[in-house]
Symmetry: C2
C-alpha cells in the first residue's frame, strides 16, 4: 500500500525533505489519557504487549492524538530474552524482574535462539499486521528491538540497576559465555526484525539503552560488533541505531551500515555534525524535560535544534518522553516541527 | 606537619612525579572487612558520619589496609542540604530520602546558607582534625563536597532518580528559584570547603555526580557556572573537579581555576589529552568493574591506562569502587601503580 505521508521514510533514506519529520520515543504510553484509560482496565503491562489488537490500538493512539509522522509498534524489548527462555515479570512502579538469570556458560547454552526463538513471538507480528491495516497507509510504522548488550544486561542483572556491575562483571570474568550470549541474541534479533519487516514494519530501530555503562573498548567488543552484525544482515528496510550515552563511540557508529543514528540530549548538534558529517541522517535530540517548559521555550528550542542539525534530520527527543510530560507541551513540540520549513 | 609521602599533592600541583599517586573514590567503605565490622555495630550510616572519632577511624582503615597515597575524609555530600535546613535519612539498601523537598522560591528563601550554615557542620571539621592528627603526616588528606547542581537535584527530588526529571523540570519552570538555590549552595560550599582546609584537608574535591543528566547548555548555566564560582573563591588548597558524565563539558572544564580534573571510565585517555592538553593534571579512570577481573587483566589494563595518560596523572577508578569488589583485586590495582615507573 502506498503511504499518504512518507516524509519519515524519505528522510530516513537520505532525501532532503521540505521539513523534518517528527515522532517521539514512547509516544504510545502514559502521556496519553486514552492509554491510561485502557491500561487501567487491564491486568498488567504484559497483557497489553501480548494482545495484538490492544497493542495495535495503543500504537495508533498517538497518531490520532498528536498527528506525528511515524507510528512505533507498542511492545517491549524484553520479549526477546523471554522467547529465548528467560521469563520476566513487569512489576508495577519497579520495572522488569527476571526470576531466573544467566550465571554461566551452561545457562547460555540452554537458551533457544535464532529463527526458532523469534518464531514464537507471533503476538508481536500479529500486532504489526493489525496496526498496518488500521493505519491504512497514513504514515510509516516502526518496528524495534533492544540491542544485544542491553538485553544481556537484563538477563544477567535480572532487573534494572544503577551500575549494571553484575552484567559488566560477567563480561570481565566470563567473556566467552558473554560472546556466546551476544551471538545468540544477535541471531534472534536478526530473525525477529526480519519477521517484523515482513509483518509491516517500514523501518526498524535498535535501542542500546545501556550503552553508556561500558568503557569505549568494551563497547566496541561487546556491543557495537553485534549491532554491526545485525545491520549487515538486514537489508529489507532502513535501520536506525540509538545508543544512549555512547558519545565515545559516535565515530565508529558513523561506519555502521545503518540509515539513521539516534542521538541523546547530551550531544550538541554541532558536535554530532562534526563527527558524522552533514549527510548522515540523525534522529533526536531535544531534552525530554524541555517539554515541561513554557510553549514559548519549547518552540524556540525546537527550532534552534532543527536549524543546528540543518537537514538530514528526524526530529525526536533525546530519550523516551517521560510519563508525566504535559500533553500540550508534547503537542507544541510536534506542531512546531510540522509548521517549520527549512 | 611535613608529609612523609607527598606524592599525591606534588602531582596535584602539577609536578611530574616518579610514578603516579593512587587512591580510590569510596576506598573508605564496604570493600573493607574492618568497615563492615564497625558499621554492623552502629545504628546507621549517619551515626558514622556524625561521630568524629568513628569517621576518622573509617577514613584511616584503607590507608592501613591498602597503603594508598591519599586519604579522603569519610562523610556524605548530603550534610550540606541538611545544614541548610533539609534533613535527610539514609534508608538501608535504598539510599538517601528527604521528608521535605524544595518546591518553590519560598522554600529556597527559607534555607540557611553561607558561613552560618557551614559552621554547624562541626562534626565534619572535628573528624578532619582527628584524622589529620592520627595520620601523623603519613599521606595527604582530601576533603570534599557535592557540586551545587548535584545537591540541588537531591533537594528537589528528595531521593535518587533514574531521570532526575523533577530536578530538571525545576530548572526549566523555575529558573530564578533554581539560580537562587545554586547561589546559596555555592556560598555554603565555599565556606564549608574553607573550613575543611582549616581543619586539615590538603586538597578538596568537588563531586558533580549527576552532571551527565543535563544538556550541554544547561550544564554550563546551572552547574559549571557555580563550580567556577567555588574554584575562584578557594585558593587555600588545590582543587579537584569530578563531573561524572559531563564529557560534553570537558573543553569548558579545562578553563576552570582548578588543579585536577577527574575523569569517568567512558573517557578514553587519548581523548582527554586531546581536549585538555598534556599538562593538565587528570585523575582516574579505570572502569570500577575491571577490578572483578583476573589480576593479570587488572595489572595489564592499569599499566596501559597509566601509559596512555603519560604523566600529570593521579590514578583512581572512573567512579567510586563498588561495594562487592574483591579486596585482592583492589590491592592488585594499588600495587600495580605503586610498582610502576614511567
Amino acid at each position: 500500500m502506498e503511504l499518504k505521508n512518507d516524509l519519515f521514510l524519505r528522510a530516513a533514506k537520505g532525501e532532503l525533505t521540505e521539513r523534518p519529520p517528527v515522532w517521539l520515543m514512547r509516544q504510545a504510553g502514559r502521556i496519553l489519557p486514552q492509554y491510561r484509560a485502557l491500561r487501567g482496565k487491564l491486568s498488567g503491562f504484559k497483557e497489553l504487549v501480548e494482545t495484538p489488537h490492544l497493542a495495535a490500538e495503543v500504537t495508533i493512539q498517538p497518531v490520532d492524538e498528536l498527528d506525528v509522522d511515524a507510528a512505533i509498534i507498542f511492545s517491549d524489548i524484553l520479549v526477546i530474552p523471554e522467547t529465548m527462555g528467560l521469563e520476566y515479570q513487569m512489576v508495577e512502579k519497579k520495572g522488569p524482574w527476571f526470576p531466573k538469570t544467566i550465571q554461566s556458560m551452561d545457562d547460555v547454552r540452554k537458551l533457544k535462539s535464532g529463527a526458532e526463538a523469534a518464531a514464537d513471538l507471533d503476538y508481536v507480528f500479529k500486532a504489526l499486521e493489525i496496526t498496518k491495516k488500521e493505519l491504512n497507509g497514513r504514515i510509516p510504522l516502526i518496528g524495534f528491538s533492544g540491542a544485544p548488550w542491553t538485553l544481556l544486561s537484563y538477563m544477567i542483572e535480572g532487573s534494572g540497576s544503577k551500575t549494571f556491575s553484575k552484567a559488566k562483571k560477567f563480561l570481565y570474568t566470563q567473556p566467552e559465555a558473554a560472546h556466546l550470549l551476544l551471538d545468540k541474541l544477535s541471531d534472534t534479533i536478526i530473525e525477529y526484525l526480519k519477521l517484523k519487516i515482513q509483518s509491516g514494519a517500514d523501518l526498524v530501530q535498535i535501542f542500546d539503552s545501556w550503552a553508556g555503562i561500558l568503557s569505549p573498548k568494551q563497547y566496541e567488543e561487546f556491543s557495537l560488533r553485534y549491532i554491526r552484525k545485525i545491520c549487515d544482515a538486514i537489508d529489507e528496510a532502513p535501520i536506525t541505531v540509538f545508543a544512549k550515552g555512547a558519545w565515545f563511540a559516535l565515530p565508529s557508529m558513523g561506519s555502521l551500515d545503518c540509515n539513521v543514528i539516534g542521538l541523546d540530549w547530551n550531544t550538541d548538534p554541532h558536535h554530532a555534525r562534526n563527527i558524522l558529517g552533514d549527510e548522515q541522517v540523525v534522529q533526536g535530540n531535544l531534552d525530554p524535560c524541555m517539554l515541561y517548559s513554557s510553549h514559548e521555550n519549547i518552540e524556540a528550542e525546537t527550532k534552534k535544534m532543527i536549524r543546528k542539525f540543518n537537514g538530514h534530520h528526524i526530529v525526536n527527543l533525546g530519550h523516551g518522553v517521560y510519563p508525566d510530560t504535559p500533553l500540550d507541551g508534547v503537542k507544541c513540540f510536534v506542531n512546531t516541527v510540522k509548521s517549520f520549513s527549512y
